[in-house]
């Protein structure tokens, strides 16, 4: 495998690590199956693309995160105030976002940012090194991870974690658990959209149909990473999210190199997540049967 391919996989892995952080917040911390991710990722892509097209790549990144957070807040609102089941809330928002994303992108299904100035072209202009793209990805992930870690260690962050753990107890501690869910889902989808925005600028391209399967990518990353680091402490979970996103991207790159069709990627991801989640059950069943034979 060419070194540039590996570097590309590493860069993509880091960009998707931010998506994985978002999914980690909804699925692991809040324990809410939030399906709006497939929509908000593209909201981020589209928002960042439009800003970039108009010459504001850096502002575009922040706008992407903000737009995602807004969509996440809507999911939270549907869940807590309208009492719609979490899964359905996510599906409704994801589905509705498709039309909104189309509008954000100026009623076109895709935007090319070829020859436009992006955060990546600006950063690479600073030096001749070929590693500049990678450095920028590392920088973004490091800043995001540190800020997020610090936030989860604050009082507010602790309330957020407790909400996913025991909601009744959080209310008994005089914390408005609905507000915590709203905050958590905003944060989660803000991160997802941030990841989308960075990706759009990285590949100089945004496609309104590209969202399907992003949630599975996030989940797969978390599961792969947790196989190595577990989730005993917050630090371990964070290591798992980042390393998992990178490892998963390498896995995909490797599969593509072996001649697996690019359109089969999503099937592979789905299979991987299915296997990983059902593995403990399968293992237990096999052990039980073996035990009976002896």
């Amino acid at each position: 495998m060419a070194l540039s391919t590996l570097q590309g996989a590493l860069e993509l892995g880091l960009i998707y690590a931010i998506l994985a952080f978002g999914v980690y917040i909804s699925f692991r911390i809040l324990d809410i199956p939030d399906l709006s991710v497939d929509g908000t990722f593209i909201t981020g892509c589209g928002t960042a693309a439009i800003f970039t097209l108009n010459g504001h790549p850096i502002l575009g990144i922040f706008a992407a995160a903000f737009a995602g957070a807004l969509a996440g807040a809507l999911t939270g609102f549907l869940q807590t105030k309208c009492k719609i089941q979490p899964i359905l809330s996510g599906i409704l928002v994801m589905s509705g976002l498709y039309s909104i994303n189309y509008k954000i992108m100026g009623n076109t299904p895709n935007i090319s940012l070829f020859d436009k100035e992006t955060i990546f072209t600006r950063f690479t202009a600073l030096s001749d090194s070929k590693l500049m793209n990678l450095f920028l990805c590392i920088l973004i992930v490091a800043v995001t991870a540190i800020l997020l870690y610090a936030f989860l260690k604050t009082q507010l962050g602790m309330c957020l974690r407790a909400t996913g753990d025991n909601e009744a107890m959080v209310r008994a501690s005089s914390v408005n658990s609905d507000r915590m869910k709203l905050l958590g889902l905003s944060l989660a989808n803000g991160l997802v959209a941030l990841s989308g925005g960075i990706l759009a600028q990285y590949q100089s391209f945004a496609d309104v149909n590209d969202g399907i399967g992003k949630l599975v990518i996030g989940l797969a990353s978390i599961i792969v990473g947790e196989a190595f680091f577990g989730r005993k402490t917050l630090l371990r979970s964070f290591s798992a999210v980042i390393s998992g996103a990178i490892a998963y991207r390498f896995l995909l790159t490797f599969a593509l190199q072996l001649g697996v069709n690019a359109t089969d990627q999503r099937l592979l991801s789905a299979l991987l997540v299915t296997l990983a989640i059902s593995f403990p059950v399968l293992k237990k069943e096999i052990m039980k049967r073996r035990g009976r034979k002896c």
Binding site: L156, S174, V175
Partner: protein
């Protein structure tokens, strides 16, 4: 202290299953009261506590705490003033968080959640000192996840958390019923000690008649949504379990 006026609750109103859970209950809890409540299943004990805590909204009536009308106040808002324990020891603590984090959360009760540090180092000695009172050695396991503790330990911790910031009122809903007799005794003794030390007005539901007679200064018997008997002082001390059993069927 706590004043309940004409509290009325109907379940499944307007259906064939309509049932009056609380029938115009009025009662006043005094500042130094430790009240135990007995009654058959469905007598309205838990409904009364749920109304006070804010899980259930009454059809009509009024609940005042320290002169403030809390009848329609949101549950999480009254939680600033009211501590509560349930029968299920798993209900009061967050299993995937450490003992220290659980205590930190309980200690911030009534304050706004901010972006300041979740656990202040200066609070840790106070937490340890409080935990030591439970005599379970939890003060040496502050970084253990709460899910690793036994039911009794978790209930003891919940009790500590509910009273870490002294509440204006403590509600105990059969909080020892799921524990083995020995642990139940320990928890009950600790409860009594904490309540006495901090002068917390307390209402305790129980099915254990001995417990109801031993602890507290007043005993209420509920039946069919009403308070049918109130025992205080000497009368309560001289009542036997057999006599108590007969009161269960008293009509309102």
């Amino acid at each position: 202290m706590l004043k309940i006026t004409d509290l009325h609750v109907t379940f499944h109103k307007g259906t064939i299953h309509e049932r009056v859970a609380l029938n115009n209950v009025s009662y006043e809890v005094q500042a130094d009261d430790f009240i135990t409540i007995l009654g058959t299943n469905g007598a309205g004990k838990s409904t009364l506590l749920n109304c006070i805590a804010g899980n259930i909204e009454p059809d009509k009536g009024k609940i005042e705490l320290d002169g403030m009308d809390i009848t329609w106040m949101k549950e999480y808002k009254r939680a600033k003033m009211i501590g509560r324990l349930f029968q299920d020891p798993l209900k009061g603590t967050a299993p995937n968080m450490t003992i220290l984090e659980n205590l930190g959360l309980a200690y911030s009760r009534g304050k706004r959640s901010t972006l300041s540090r979740a656990i202040k180092k200066s609070d840790i000695p106070y937490f340890k000192e409080q935990l030591a009172k439970l005599n379970l050695g939890l003060e040496n396991r502050m970084d253990a996840k709460v899910g690793l503790l036994s039911g009794g330990q978790r209930q003891a911790l919940t009790l500590m958390m509910a009273t870490l910031v002294t509440p204006k009122l403590l509600l105990l809903d059969e909080h020892t019923a799921a524990l083995d007799p020995k642990t139940a005794d320990t928890i009950m003794n600790v409860t009594d000690a904490i309540v006495k030390e901090n002068h917390i007005p307390t209402i305790m539901i129980t099915h254990n008649m001995k417990q109801a007679l031993t602890y507290g200064n007043k005993l209420l018997v509920m039946n069919e949504g009403r308070i049918v008997k109130e025992l205080t002082g000497v009368e309560k001390q001289q009542t036997t379990v057999d006599q108590l059993l007969k009161m269960y069927d008293l009509a309102a």
